[in-house]
Subunit: 256 residues, 2 copies
């Protein structure tokens, strides 16, 4: 039974890619077989896992537009049980090219249905917008992770995202478990961070993950290309926090 988890937020820079790459890595190191799908035309997850985009024969764009097969597009990564469907800048074209396609929001869901048998988890990284790519990511998901950064505009971003999720749940994906909120860039010294956590727990209760992802400058700075933290420093706070998140996700389990 494969679980599809999409990491989504229209707010930029909240840690979507950092979460998708590190959660996928932690699950893979726990011997689950994982596919990470990069649905962001920026392709940060693809660079983060060390791919050279110029040498890729095909990418998610080719799959979404029916010009390639999954078999030739899935890439190996430095982690044994982690595979990647890479993205390139051409993915921006999907927003225009799929406008006239019937069920344009379900293209990814149909694609992942063909891949599900081979994986325990499929994680999807999405772009900072509410366009067709994010709609596809939410429509294809069994569960959502919504990173919330400790900063201004955060609560408004959550409300906007939750509104869109409800619309998609009703119209496109009734089986979707609503979004789980993940607090990122948490710094206990900063009053807004602890206030934000209290506000979120007060309003959204259990849907907020227990795990708080701490701001960890040492590691992200060292890993210029945003690779998995566990490959750089097993003892880093970022590595520890994402292992803890993986344990929470495993407890959610396919039976949730």
């Amino acid at each position: 039974m494969t679980v599809v988890i999409s990491v989504v937020s229209q707010k930029g820079g909240v840690g979507k890619t950092t979460t998708a790459v590190n959660l996928a890595s932690a699950l893979a190191v726990s011997e689950r077989s994982v596919l990470l799908v990069d649905m962001d035309p920026q392709g940060n997850a693809t660079s983060g896992l060390g791919m050279d985009k110029k040498r890729l024969l095909s990418s998610v764009y080719d799959l979404m537009t029916g010009q390639a097969e999954p078999g030739q597009t899935v890439q190996n990564t430095p982690i044994r049980f982690l595979k990647l469907l890479p993205a390139k800048m051409d993915l921006y074209r999907t927003e225009f090219e799929l406008t006239a396609t019937a069920h344009k929001e379900r293209v990814l869901a149909r694609l992942l249905n063909r891949l599900k048998g081979g994986y325990d988890y499929i994680l999807v990284d999405s772009p900072p917008s509410l366009g067709l790519l994010t709609f596809n990511a939410v429509t294809a998901a069994d569960a959502l992770v919504i990173p919330v950064q400790c900063g201004c505009y955060s609560l408004e971003a959550v409300e906007q995202m939750m509104h869109v999720v409800r619309v998609i749940q009703q119209r496109l994906n009734p089986g979707l478990i609503a979004g789980r909120l993940l607090v990122t860039l948490f710094d206990p010294q900063v009053p807004l961070c602890t206030e934000l956590v209290d506000t979120l727990r007060g309003r959204f209760g259990e849907t907020v993950f227990d795990t708080l992802i701490a701001r960890d400058e040492t590691l992200t700075q060292a890993g210029k290309y945003g690779g998995p933290a566990l490959l750089q420093d097993l003892d880093a706070p970022l590595t520890r926090d994402y292992f803890q998140l993986a344990r929470e996700v495993l407890k959610m389990g396919p039976e949730e």
Copy 2:
């Protein structure tokens, strides 16, 4: 002579809104008349300037689709010489609704041509994407400010943005002065930050602003809604840095 400056980057969370709101405020306090246009459907600049979106009669979406006039849409702000064209979530609809319009990338440029006489500067905040809204922001601009955060994926984000700017300069806006790079969230203690500044200055030379915007947790945290720093604390590093940036922008002048 009005100068239109668009703040753009497809990378999320790099400080586009913080830059647009604070640069606009610093120019307005220097007695230039300034219009800030919020072209991001998230509407963070609109909330940051204290607007209640539910009470707005019209917004940028209504202007772009010809359903309202600028006169009824321009809002006053807490700063005398600063006016705002606010955004609401409906702005997401532009990407779909304008697809069939001729010259869909020039809708904002035509709109601002009607407003130019009344302002010294028009600043545009844009969303973290490379869709129609960002294309409109770049096509309408005389000059661009491209915030670059000290973090991973930054250089790749700059390259992707500069590529798009060149395409728009050739096809849609030959008068555009290329992008000026603004380093944000700068922390001199973090090696990647100083390395990033050296790399950018090495590759892009004069186009990198002298001003570095320091990471200033005290202020952004206090200003939960992301209002102008100068209204919260005139002595804060963030306030000082954006006044310095305003002085550099004023030196660029309309004659540049």
